[in-house]
């Protein structure tokens, strides 16, 4: 067996191993990452333009593209499979890339290679030479102390009678790329957590003095105590504000208020002021005194054929066998007055009931216009228009992904700042003996990195001053790429 395997080429590997290796390398590749990010960017661009007139413009200019543009407008990019797929691939790539890079970076931080070659120093784009009368080991110690005084760490190693020197600064900033990249995964995770374990109610409509259930398993109800809008002198809106009480099992548990931009928080649930409108508070009872409705009805969520411009509301009252609609006066009488068949005055409302279901006590719709405080008999029902009120529209959300998102945001910006503003700077050098004493030849690891070269030049000058030696800077134009 052993004999037979000796004849096999060493490189031959099992297929699964090759596949796993390929996949691993694909996910580690920065080149692939560039393509993945570019694809993500392209999808985001397609989604962005979908919300604009640009595709329409393309269709107008090139009628051939019209069907394609139609599909573009119809495609919900951010909820599509390609979009989810690219996000997944990027997340996996970041995770694998992290695992792959971590050991190398850790070695570069903790156990860097100290030795270098004369070739490296000769070919460096910038280098500096110090001549000293001291013997090499004494000079290397002196030089190391001076470099350390500039905030660098130094390491030396003797080899073939020469002393190799390695110095670096801000080595731990190499780690900052990990929190930064992991933060990107965390943001996605936060989004998923929010969708999976949170809820979002886009329009909870509560008239003043009314109570509405929030639902979503919270057991909470919201009572709007008061809605106020304050205008500036010039008529522009200043504040929209709702005062509410939260009830749990009918008991008040929280009282507070909210305005646009200042939501109200209860535990992990946040309430936002998102809109308002007109409501009517009314009571509907029959001749026997049975009350079918005693609450406020929001207006403005429906349109009435009797005046399409005016705020209207409707509600079905199955126990009474009728549906009720209410129409308020036109808010903008100047607009299409010919459509207004009611001509209501401010303070008046038009009420109408229609038959609902086969057992309805009425056969024909009946309507009446009345003012605040008045009652009217419609069929067998007495309707009292108690007063005009307001309603508020709340958005309510619970998003357990938010803390993850904020943590990620801090890691992201912090990681970037450390990576960019505290870059790892490295210097290599060799101290050799000469007839007069010793010479130290130093160069930065700064291939095509102008800032790193400049930092090194400054360091060399400062070392020269400190050691009272001439830094002999050599700028090696020849090693730069041809321009």
């Amino acid at each position: 067996m052993a004999q037979a395997s000796l004849n096999q080429p060493v490189a031959r590997r099992a297929l699964p191993e090759i596949v796993v290796d390929r996949i691993w390398r694909f996910f580690c590749s920065v080149r692939a990452a560039v393509v993945e990010i570019a694809i993500l960017a392209l999808l985001v661009l397609i989604g962005t333009l979908r919300g604009s007139s640009v595709p329409q413009g393309i269709a107008d200019a090139l009628p051939i593209t019209a069907p394609l543009v139609e599909r573009w407008y119809a495609w919900d990019v951010y909820r599509s499979i390609p979009f989810a797929a690219i996000l997944t691939i990027l997340s996996i790539a970041i995770a694998i890339c992290t695992i792959n890079r971590a050991p190398g970076i850790w070695t570069a931080i903790q156990h860097p290679t100290v030795t270098t070659t004369h070739g490296f120093l000769r070919n460096a784009e910038v280098s500096s030479r110090f001549n000293s009368a001291s013997p090499p080991d004494a000079f290397a110690a002196e030089l190391s102390a001076a470099i350390r005084a500039r905030g660098y760490r130094t390491m030396t190693q003797e080899r073939n009678g020469e002393i190799h020197l390695y110095a670096d600064r801000w080595r731990f900033s190499r780690l900052a790329t990990f929190p930064f990249h992991l933060a990107l995964i965390m943001i996605l995770a936060g989004g998923i957590v929010g969708v999976a374990w949170g809820f979002r109610e886009n329009a909870l409509i509560v008239p003043e003095a009314s109570v509405r259930e929030l639902g979503h398993g919270t057991g909470l109800s919201v009572r709007l105590n008061d809605f106020s809008e304050i205008y500036r002198e010039d008529g522009s809106p200043l504040v929209y504000r709702s005062d509410v009480t939260l009830l749990k099992n009918g008991e008040p548990v929280h009282r507070g208020s909210m305005t646009v931009n200042n939501p109200m928080t209860f535990g992990d649930i946040v309430f936002y002021q998102s809109g308002f409108g007109q409501a009517v508070s009314m009571k509907i009872a029959d001749d026997a005194g049975r009350v079918y409705y005693d609450d406020s009805l929001p207006l403005g969520l429906y349109q009435s054929k009797l005046n399409p411009d005016a705020p209207a509301g409707r509600i079905d009252l199955p126990p009474a066998g009728v549906a009720l609609s209410v129409v308020a006066p036109d808010e903008n009488p100047a607009n299409a007055p010919e459509l207004d068949t009611l001509n209501l005055k401010p303070g008046e409302l038009f009420f109408m009931i229609r038959p609902l279901g086969p057992d309805s006590p009425i056969e024909m719709p009946v309507g009446a216009t009345i003012s605040q405080g008045d009652s009217v008999n419609l069929g067998n029902l007495t309707l009292t228009f108690e007063r005009e009120r307001r309603f508020s529209v709340f958005q309510v959300a619970r998003n357990p992904g938010i803390p993850i998102f904020f943590a990620a945001a801090i890691l992201l910006v912090g990681g970037l700042a450390i990576t960019f503003y505290f870059p790892h700077r490295r210097v290599r050098g060799i101290v050799s003996a000469t007839a007069e004493g010793s010479v130290a030849h130093l160069a930065p690891i700064a291939r095509r990195d102008w800032s790193a070269r400049r930092v090194f030049e400054q360091l060399a000058r400062e070392l020269g001053k400190r050691l009272q030696l001439d830094p002999h800077l050599t700028i090696n134009e020849g090693s730069r790429p041809a321009i």
């Binding site: 560039v34 960017a41 962005t48 919300g51 007139s53 730069r480």
Partner: protein, 300 residues
Amino acid sequence: MDAVVRLSFYCFAAGSFAFAASAICYLAYAIGRIRVRRMALATPDGTTVVAHDARLEPGSQGVGRFGTFLAWFGVVLQALSIGLRTVAAGHVPLSNMYEFSSMFIFLAGLIYLLFERWYGVRQLGAIVLPLIVAMAAYVWVLPANLREVNPLIPALQNPPLMTAHVGIAILAYATFAVAFAAAVLYLVASHWRVSWLPSADLLDDLGFRAVTVGFPAMSLVLILGSVWAYRAWGTYWQWDPKETAALFTWLIYGVYLHTRSLRGWRGNRSAIILLIAFGAVIFTYFGNYVFGGLHAYGGV
């Protein structure tokens, strides 16, 4: 118009002229001078041979320095204009296109000048200053009512968040403008031998440094935008076109940052990506013209 607001506008106007003059100086400095040399050689047989040759020579240092001076002058006037408007409005003016663009002009000028000092090169001004002048021209053609200070609508009434979110966005765009200029000059310097342009390495580095300011700033913009959206709407991301346009821009700069560690991509291809990325910045900035959505406050 309130007197302070009018004074603020006059400062802006004076600033525009200073920037325009500065742009001309920078262009003259960067393009250099065409020098025609005439050589006359007397030959032994008595005739004279006259040769002409034209050469491009570096522009005069004096013109460059004057450009810098005028640009500083413009930046100070622009700062005054914004300062006066802040006094008149009671908050940093960042609520319509006139105000964003004034801030852009100020920050692009300031950041460019800081980079100029830091790197000791002036040629970039020949690209950044005309951009600033173009922006100033755009401000001039905006509807005049935007020059007045209008009270904030309730959705914008969060001055600290508004200042941070919008201010940092404009800071990011201004640094991206500097990166764009560096990329343009990089492509020029690496394709033609123009002896007095800064070295391609320096320009590559300068572009990168600008992005190292702009990219974290852009990240902050997205984050602060999310924080604001969370406070105002209860959700930190709405896939609103303005948001996604900013995300697109951010991703393109992400591509750029990765290409810098790829063999064969750094330099030329990186510079081309910077050009594309600046296109994305312009698209994001002027996006309100093509999409509505939740960010349609700019008054355009």
